[in-house]
């Protein structure tokens, strides 16, 4: 019966309810989009890392796996590492950030193609002229260019030689010598990818490398990929926490205000219920049930909206921020929305409970 009462209340004031639901949906969408972006970005990175075809990644002293450090590893290491036990091949890359979440990768083209199995060209061809640049399909879509057209990257005009299938290391490629020249990092690389002679020997190879190059971060690709998850990146984690906080505050205020209005609007009805003998628990139950419904409605609506933001972002910036839908966060975002809604309804609920029935009945 309470549910019916609440339901009829909601139906009776659809605009107020809809507005509240919409406003609760905003933080839900915010949270889900942010998490989706992080997840999407990281899974895209992981996919690209896998696409390199390497088994092991070797980095400069003191650099961390997830930071874009400049080229700080002598390129002599490439040949040196190739000679280590169980290592079949080594190739160095220079990674140069170009703002936002994007970076250009300088690759030793033949070695990289050998390790990764080669680019699949959707348009155009490989590097031929010194101003050639190769980009993947996502980046081409994002910058709206086709093979043969000009593209400005790092403030330099390049010609798009080819557009390749995405999923190999990076979205933007240059030959390593050219990138090194433009960024004054000749003879240096950012990291070195290694391929073992066989799958079983990867761990042995890593152990041997770690022994020999003690101070250098060395990961198997499997480790490297498993490290790229949202909770492993402190900055992202903090950012998400801030957004969660904002979500709680918005949800709380919206519901509080909405229920406060509801209690005022319904002063008389609450008085009637009291005159019929409704207990305090009954009134509180009614208000909280309404808040619960709004919280749940906001969650569902927020989830729907997160699909819309995903779609929009995919259209706008497919390469930089490939968003994902992270269902495991639905209950978290929903919990926050519902929790904030219930919390926000408590004070108005108390007001309703405390209302003097005679005054409430006299209320116009």
């Amino acid at each position: 019966m309470i549910t019916k009462l609440v339901w009829e209340n909601i139906r009776f004031r659809p605009v107020r309810t809809l507005l509240s639901v919409l406003l609760i949906a905003v933080p839900v969408t915010l949270i889900l989009t942010l998490v989706g972006l992080s997840e999407g970005f990281l899974s895209d990175s992981a996919r690209r890392a896998r696409g390199v075809g390497a088994d092991i990644v070797f980095r400069a002293k003191g650099s961390s796996l997830l930071s874009f450090s400049g080229a700080s590893l002598q390129s002599e290491f490439v040949d040196l590492l190739a000679k280590q036990p169980h290592i079949k091949q080594a190739t160095g890359v220079v990674i140069y950030p170009i703002g936002g979440f994007d970076s250009v990768s300088g690759i030793d083209v033949p070695a990289f193609e050998k390790m990764s199995g080669g680019f699949v060209y959707l348009q155009g061809h490989g590097f031929q002229k010194p101003d050639d640049i190769v980009i993947d399909e996502y980046y081409a879509e994002q910058r709206k260019v086709r093979a043969g057209e000009k593209l400005k990257v790092m403030n330099i005009d390049w010609t798009v030689a080819g557009v390749v299938e995405p999923g190999k290391l990076s979205h933007v490629f240059l030959p390593i010598q050219i990138l090194a020249e433009k960024t004054a990092s000749e003879g240096m690389v950012s990291q070195i990818y290694l391929k073992a002679d066989s799958e079983e020997n990867v761990d042995t190879a890593v152990a041997a490398l770690k022994k020999k190059f003690e101070e250098y971060p060395i990961y198997t690709m499997r480790e490297a990929i498993s490290l790229t998850s949202v909770s492993n990146i402190p900055l992202l984690k903090n950012f998400i926490n801030v957004v969660l906080g904002i979500g709680v505050v918005i949800g709380f205020s919206v519901v509080s205000l909405s229920m406060y209005m509801a209690v005022l609007q319904r002063t008389r009805e609450i008085g009637i219920l009291k005159s019929l003998g409704a207990t305090k628990a009954f009134i509180m139950n009614m208000i909280l049930t309404e808040a619960l419904i709004m919280g749940l409605g906001g969650t569902v609506f927020g989830i729907i909206l997160s699909y819309i933001t995903k779609f929009t972002l995919q259209k706008l910036v497919p390469a930089s921020l490939p968003p994902a839908i992270v269902m495991s966060w639905w209950p978290i975002a929903g919990g926050i929305a519902v929790g904030a809604a219930l919390l926000g309804a408590l004070y108005p609920g108390m007001l309703a409970v405390r209302q003097d029935p005679i005054e409430a009945l006299a209320y116009e």
């Binding site: 009776f12 003998g277 409704a278 207990t279 305090k280 003097d356 009945l361």
Partner: protein, 230 residues
Amino acid sequence: MNSPIIEVKKLRKVYLQGKVEVEALRGVDLSVPAGEFLSIVGPSGSGKSTLFHIVGGLTPATSGEITVGGSNVSTVGDAGRTELRRKCVSFVFQKFNLLPNLSAGDNIRVAMHISGMKLEFDKRLQELLGLLGIAGRLEHRPSELSGGEQQRVAIARALATNPAILLADEPTGNLDSKNSDAVLKILRDLNEKLGQTILMITHNPDAAAYGHRTVHMSDGQIVDTSFRPE
């Protein structure tokens, strides 16, 4: 005469309006036997509604002794008064006070739900609805009903929970004479056929004549009691 179902002794009620004390009731003594249909008349502000609000447990008395349905209402707290409204006393108001969002039937069901009853319309309730002439109007919302129908729904809601006492505060105040007559006849029928104890406030002497007895209030006191000439 039956034993009293309402006993009020030396009842006083003082309202605080800002810093000013308003003495709404100044020593009311009243005894109502079960099964009586009592009319209460008196000028505006004489304390009629206040008396109902205290007897019906909407507000506590300032002093005095009130026994309703065998339990001492003057000493119970907020929860006790809620219990009184839930089980023992029902109100009918001048302004009908139906819940506007709910159909007539659901208005009745809410009251039944609140007093902890099953939500089925049993034979007794069906008879009551028939007597009130609203059996066919239960799906309608209050806004779709005439004033007379709304008041009859309010009476049905009040009596659905089988209260010992019905307190009707100017139940015909918002009705034209035809609907007034209908409602008053219904109240008399309910009293005669079901033995329902009814207290009714009214400004209209003709309406008051429907009761067995009329109590006159003035300035927070009962000044006169007259019986219906048989």
